[in-house]
């Protein structure tokens, strides 16, 4: 109870030291903003690189022409090239289907175990929420969409947000789908369709089949496929990079030796970012983050030094009044944490504001939780050297200093 009260009071007292609090809060806010931007960059880069450097995505080139058994045959062939291509194994793979149910509606299946491997919604595209994990959960693009009727060409424009429920009813059966995640379509390159002309829904494999039934779509005639493969190894390693190139070459050989009757017409994502460029990109962001973290650590040490130096007499008085080293530390650490965490939240507001005003999609293009939490963790870690310094300084203050003349 005592320690908690000391901490609560220290927060109150920090805010009362208005000038120092505001100055350091603003500096921490700026550092937090930089850290968050770089973390966000790394988060995006990491997931992009994962697919760029470890993954290969295959897409059909002619819609409505590839049948289920063709895809299965191709998939088996690809998995077999591990021997010929020198690959020990394809680490992971996913097959996703998509179909146009209506002029205004396209549905995509997600492999629930590896939803991130769907070429169209890799993790770096998620703006809000999460991947669907149950049969009635779906992902949709951010912002508004047009839902176009087939019979009279009338389009309905609507906004769509996380938590919204979409109901599909054919007069007998009802399918209710809840939006649990949204993704950014502005970066999508895999399927060249203007998303604003259709409602895109990404859903569970089984729900995909239910939707086909509801719309009375012939499965074999409507299937189109996308395949994603990931090879073993570290991201940004030469070996992994070579392995994915070998896989790509192997697939090209299979496809060139056969015709569409066997496998359909597929295109692989053959243009990788060169390894050196990926490494350079990742290094630049990490170096920037490093500078921001070092700046933050210097700031935290500076604040802690100022607190412990200019409040030395106050520390002595508190000790003379019976505060243990731990209680004094709680008071001062409370001040440092209050300043840094308040600065972090101000910084977050700045970042969100910048994202909001620079985004095409209002309200949705906000920071992902993972970037937010990682930044918060880094800001707390940044304050640790300062807290360590304060602890050392406190031990060096004798309560008898309270009796000495100023």
């Amino acid at each position: 109870m005592g320690k908690i009260r000391v901490l609560k009071k220290s927060i109150k007292f920090t805010v009362r030291s208005k000038r120092r609090f505001i100055v350091f809060l603003l500096i921490f806010a700026i550092v937090s903003s930089f850290v968050t931007f770089f973390i966000n960059d790394i988060d995006t880069l990491q997931t992009d690189l994962y697919l760029e450097q470890k993954g290969l995505i295959l897409n059909q080139r002619n819609e409505f022409s590839v049948f289920n058994n063709q895809s299965t045959r191709l998939l088996n062939e690809i998995l077999d090239i591990k021997a010929s291509g020198g690959l020990e194994a394809v680490e992971n793979y996913a097959v996703s289907r998509y179909a146009d149910l209506d002029a205004g509606l396209r549905i995509f299946s997600l492999d629930v175990k590896n939803p991130w491997m769907n070429a169209d919604v890799n993790p770096s595209l998620i703006q809000q929420g999460k991947y669907p994990s149950t049969a009635n959960e779906i992902m949709v693009p951010t912002g508004s969409f047009y839902f176009k009727s087939t019979s009279n060409n009338v389009a309905i424009k609507s906004d769509i947000v996380v938590g919204q429920v979409l109901e599909f009813f054919d007069g007998t059966d009802l399918i209710e789908l809840t939006v649990v995640g949204t993704f950014d379509t502005s970066k999508m390159t895999q399927i060249n369709v203007d998303v604003k002309e259709k409602l895109w829904i990404f859903l569970h494999d089984t729900t995909y089949d239910s939707m086909l039934d509801l719309y009375n779509i012939d499965e074999d005639a409507s299937y189109t496929y996308s395949m994603s493969f990931v090879v073993p190894g570290l991201i940004l390693s030469e070996t992994t990079y070579q392995a994915i190139n070998d896989l790509n070459d192997g697939i090209k050989v299979i496809l060139s030796e056969n015709n569409t009757d066997s496998y359909g017409i597929w295109a692989s994502q053959a243009e990788f970012l060169p390894l050196e460029d990926s490494v350079k990109k990742a290094t630049n962001t990490l170096v920037s983050l490093g500078f921001a973290v070092i700046g933050g650590i210097i700031l935290s040490i500076m604040l802690s030094y100022l607190i412990s130096r200019f409040r030395r007499r106050e520390i002595a008085v508190l000790k003379a009044l019976g505060y243990s080293n731990g209680s004094v530390r709680t008071t001062l650490v409370g001040e440092v944490l209050t300043t840094s965490i308040s600065g972090f939240f101000v910084g977050m507001t700045l970042v969100q504001g910048i994202l909001f005003y620079t985004s095409d999609f209002k309200f949705d293009n906000l920071l992902r939780w993972v970037a937010f939490l990682a930044s918060f963790g880094i800001i707390v870690l940044i304050t640790l050297p300062g807290i360590f310094l304060i602890s050392r300084k406190i031990l060096g203050v004798s309560p008898s200093e309270a009796f000495r003349d100023k």
Partner: protein
């Protein structure tokens, strides 16, 4: 009626090294007893050892030689935690420059020593308000130190020392920064506290304060002489 001995110091000595070889005897063979409800005034010129004696008797500093018994326990054998407990539970301090914390209101300054304790906040606030009322500061409870006069600040400091109901109050020049009238006001308050059972030891230069003392101790070059009032 026999009074309980609160502090008993025997053969107390404190030496410092000044420079490489010079040894300063800040305290030399001090023998002293402080009883409950007794007020001792400690006189001496600057550098005579007054502050050192206060530090040593209150457990803020260790003597080089001798023993100090506080309610029967030898505090020279205490570890840091025991000394902290002693300061927290049994000792109050009043400083020359008051040493109030600028960002705390008067009532919060009074409460501050008790913040680490497991006393409910409402009980603590009631105690602090009661003390401020006793010291005629009720209308200043939510004022910050900068908004109060020197006398008012010293009364807040006194309330801060009293909130723990200490056995002893150590005061270092408590009237040093006050005008004569306010100085006497503070001394009268200290005397009232003393009559209620708290032992008080005051280091001062001010000979006008002799009238409040039960005993006077004079220090010169670390040596002690005692005179009855």
């Amino acid at each position: 009626m026999s009074m309980e001995v609160i502090i008993e110091a025997k053969n107390l000595g404190k030496t410092y090294k000044r420079g490489r070889s010079e040894v300063v005897h800040a305290l030399d063979d001090i023998n002293l007893k402080l009883y409950e409800a007794e007020m001792i005034l400690l006189y001496g010129p600057s550098g005579s050892g007054k502050s050192t004696l206060l530090n040593v008797l209150s457990g803020l500093d260790n003597p080089t030689t001798g023993t100090i018994k506080f309610s029967g326990d030898d505090i020279t054998e205490f570890n840091q935690k025991q000394l902290t407990d002693l300061r927290r539970n049994d000792v109050g301090f009043v400083f020359q420059a008051w040493e109030l914390i600028d960002n705390l209101t008067a009532v919060e300054n009074v409460e501050a020593p008790m913040y680490p304790e497991s006393v409910p906040s409402n009980v603590l606030r009631t105690d602090a308000i009661t003390l401020l009322r006793r010291l005629d500061l009720l209308d200043r409870e939510y004022h910050y130190p900068k908004e109060m006069s020197g006398g008012e600040q010293q009364r807040v400091a006194l309330a801060r020392a009293l909130i723990k109901r200490p056995k002893v109050i150590f005061a270092d020049e408590p009237t040093g920064n006050l005008d004569s009238e306010t100085g006497h006001l503070i001394m009268r308050l200290l005397k009232t506290v003393c009559r209620q059972g708290t032992a008080i030891i005051i280091a001062t230069h001010d000979e006008e304060l002799r009238e409040y003392a039960d005993r006077i101790i004079r220090l010169h070059d670390g040596k002690m002489t005692e005179e009855r009032v």
